[in-house]
C-alpha cells in the first residue's frame, strides 16, 4: 500500500512478475501505475505491505536491487549538460562500471539503439524519438535483469515506436524481465505476456491479453447505431451491450451470429462486427469519464 498525505495512491495491490516475462500495467491517469513503478525501483517507500524484488526486500536492499534494474522513466531526464556518449559514461559511473568496460558498452548500446552517428551531439538537440532511444540505451548500461519502462513510447511517431518495440522484444529474448506501463493499448496487447488493469489504486483484472479480452468482453464486438428498436431487440435476446452516445456496443463471442440475428429479426442494416481489443476491456472496466 502507498499512502500520500490524504491520497491512497496504491491500495491492497498484489502481483507477481515471473522472470523473463513481459508484464504490463494499464490504467487511466492517476490509477497508481507510476507509483507502483517507483516502488519497484525502490525510490518510493511502501507505507505498508511488502515488496520483494529478485527475492530481496525492497525496503532494505535498495542498492543491490537498483544495481540490477534499468529504468526508462515517463519524463525524459537525460543529462543535458553532456553529449550522447558522455551521458552513458557518466551514468556508468553510478554503477561502478570500470571505464574501459563502460566505453565498450556505451559504443555497443549506441549501435543497439541506432544512435552511433549522434555520439557527440548534445542531448538537448536530439529529437523526441532519439531521446527516448538514448534513455533506453542508458537503462541498459548496467546489463539489467529487469527493465522498467513507464510510458516508453509516449509522443513518438510510428517508426520510433516500432523500433522501441523491436528492441524490447529482442531484450526479452535475451532473458530480460520487462515491466511497462502504457496508454497505448495496442502496444500492450502486442508485447505483453501478462497484464493488469488498474484504477483508483486497485488491480481490476490480471491475465494474458487474450484471456482478459475473452473474459471481460468476449472475443468480438458488434457496433450498431443507437435506437429504441435495437435496444428492445437486444433485451429480448438478453445480449450483453453498452450504450455509448450514439453507438451501441454488443459484446459477444460470436459477432456473426448476433449481426445476423439483428439484420434478420430487427431489420437493422448499419452494423459493424470486429474483434474485441484491450481498449474495449479498458473502457468497460474503467469507464469513459475523463480523468485529470
Amino acid at each position: 500500500m502507498k499512502k500520500y498525505k490524504d491520497l491512497l495512491a496504491v491500495n491492497d495491490v498484489s502481483f507477481t512478475i515471473e522472470e523473463g516475462e513481459m508484464f504490463g500495467f494499464l490504467g487511466p491517469n492517476g490509477a497508481g501505475k507510476t507509483t507502483i513503478m517507483r516502488m519497484i525501483q525502490c525510490v518510493s517507500p511502501l507505507t505498508s505491505g511488502s515488496l520483494e524484488i529478485f527475492g530481496l526486500d525492497a525496503m532494505s536492499h535498495q542498492r543491490e536491487i537498483k544495481s540490477h534494474i534499468g529504468v526508462v522513466p515517463q519524463e525524459n531526464n537525460l543529462d543535458m549538460d553532456f553529449t550522447v556518449y558522455e551521458n552513458l559514461l557518466v551514468f556508468s559511473r553510478y554503477f561502478d562500471i570500470p571505464r574501459g568496460e563502460a566505453e565498450r558498452r556505451a559504443t555497443e548500446l549506441l549501435e543497439f539503439v541506432h544512435l552511433e552517428d549522434k555520439r557527440d551531439t548534445m542531448t538537448e538537440s536530439l529529437s523526441g524519438g532519439m531521446k527516448r532511444r538514448l534513455i533506453l540505451a542508458r537503462a541498459l548500461i548496467n546489463r539489467p535483469k529487469m527493465l522498467i519502462l513507464d510510458e516508453p513510447t509516449v509522443g513518438l511517431d510510428p517508426q520510433a515506436r516500432h523500433l522501441i518495440w523491436d528492441k524490447l522484444r529482442s531484450l526479452k529474448k535475451q532473458g530480460v524481465t520487462v515491466v511497462l506501463t502504457s496508454h497505448y493499448l495496442d502496444e500492450v496487447e502486442k508485447l505483453c505476456d501478462r497484464l493488469v488493469v488498474m484504477d483508483y489504486g486497485k488491480i481490476l483484472v490480471e491475465g494474458s491479453p487474450s484471456q482478459v479480452i475473452e473474459t471481460y468482453v468476449g472475443s468480438g464486438i458488434v457496433e450498431a447505431e443507437n435506437n429504441p428498436e435495437l435496444i428492445e431487440c437486444l433485451q429480448r435476446k438478453e445480449a450483453s451491450y453498452e450504450i455509448i452516445g450514439d453507438l451501441v456496443h454488443i459484446y459477444t463471442d460470436n459477432p456473426k451470429q448476433i449481426a445476423e440475428y439483428l439484420t434478420m429479426e430487427c431489420s437493422l442494416s448499419k452494423l459493424t462486427a470486429r474483434p474485441a481489443t484491450l481498449e474495449d476491456v479498458f473502457l468497460k472496466l474503467t469507464g469513459r469519464r475523463l480523468r485529470e
Binding site: 500520500y4 518510493s44 542498492r63 519524463e75 549538460d81
Partner: protein, 263 residues
C-alpha cells in the same frame, strides 16, 4: 517527519563521489568561463573600493583599507560560490533537469546525491579561493606566510554555505523564491559581517547578533587573521563555530532534501 528526524545522521556512501565527479565534469567543460569570475571580481572590487574609495579612508586597525577588504573579498566569494551552487544550481538540477531523479534510479541513494552536491559546492568555494589568493598576494595585500591555509579554510566555509543553500533548496516552492534568502540573508551578510568596515563600529547588540548568527562573520575573521599572518587564538573560536554549525546544517540539509524528494 518529527523534528528529531531532521537530526538523524544520514548514511552517506562513497558513491557521493560519482555525483561530485558529474558536477566537476560539467564545470570542466566551461573551465575558462568558470575561472574568470573569481579572477576578475576581486580586481574590480580592489580597484573601486580598495584603491579608489580607500584613498579617503584612514587605516583600519593600522592596516591600509585595501589590505583590510582583500581577505573579506575572498570570504564573500567563498560564500557566494557554494551558496549559489547548492541553491540555484542544485534546484535547477533537481527540478528542471531531473538529474537527481535519474541518479537515484541507480545504486546511488538520495543521501549520496545531496552529499555529492554539498561537496561540490564546497569545492567551488575552494577553487575560487585558490584563484583569488595568488591574485591578491600579487598586489601584496596578504601576508603569504600562511596564505595557503586559506584554501582548506575556504572548503570548510564552502560546506557551511552549501548546507545553508541546500536547506533553502529543500523548502523553496519555486526558483524565484530563492531570491528571498539572497535578499534577506546573503546580501545583509555581504555588507554587515565585518567585510567593508570593522564589526566593532556597529552597536554592541548588532555585533553580538552578527557573531552569534551570521556565518560570514567567522569566515571573514578567519581569512583575515590568516591573511594578516597573525594566527591568534580567536581563530580557534571561529573554526569551532563554523565546524559545529556546519556539521549540524549538513545533517539537517540532507534530511530536508530527503523529505522533499522521497515521496
Amino acid at each position: 517527519m518529527r523534528i528529531s528526524e531532521y537530526f538523524r545522521i544520514p548514511t552517506v556512501s562513497s558513491k557521493s563521489y560519482t555525483v561530485w565527479q558529474r558536477n566537476k565534469d560539467v564545470f570542466m567543460k566551461d573551465i575558462k568561463l568558470n575561472f574568470l569570475p573569481p579572477f576578475i571580481e576581486p580586481l574590480l572590487y580592489l580597484a573601486a573600493l580598495g584603491f579608489g574609495l580607500g584613498r579617503f579612508i584612514e587605516n583600519i586597525d593600522g592596516v591600509p583599507y585595501a589590505n583590510f577588504i582583500a581577505p573579506a573579498l575572498i570570504a564573500i566569494s567563498v560564500m557566494y560560490a557554494s551558496f549559489f551552487e547548492c541553491s540555484y544550481g542544485s534546484y535547477v538540477r533537481m527540478y528542471y533537469q531531473k538529474t537527481f531523479d535519474a541518479i537515484i534510479a541507480t545504486p546511488v541513494t538520495i543521501e549520496d546525491v545531496i552529499a555529492g552536491e554539498l561537496l561540490w559546492g564546497a569545492t567551488r568555494s575552494m577553487i575560487n579561493a585558490a584563484v583569488m589568493v595568488p591574485v591578491i598576494a600579487l598586489f601584496g595585500l596578504i601576508d603569504i606566510s600562511y596564505a595557503l591555509l586559506i584554501i582548506p579554510f575556504a572548503f570548510l566555509g564552502g560546506l557551511l554555505f552549501g548546507a545553508i543553500g541546500m536547506c533553502f533548496t529543500a523548502v523553496t516552492p519555486n526558483i524565484m523564491a530563492i531570491n528571498y534568502p539572497v535578499l534577506l540573508f546573503i546580501t545583509p551578510m555581504f555588507l554587515f559581517s565585518g567585510t567593508f568596515f570593522p564589526l566593532n563600529t556597529l552597536p554592541p547588540l548588532v555585533q553580538y547578533f552578527a557573531i552569534a548568527f551570521l556565518p560570514l562573520t567567522h569566515i571573514v575573521n578567519g581569512i583575515r587573521l590568516i591573511g594578516y599572518g597573525t594566527l591568534e587564538p580567536v581563530l580557534l573560536f571561529d573554526l569551532a563555530w563554523i565546524t559545529v554549525v556546519c556539521a549540524i546544517l549538513l545533517v539537517v540539509s540532507i534530511n530536508m532534501m530527503k523529505k522533499r524528494l522521497i515521496i
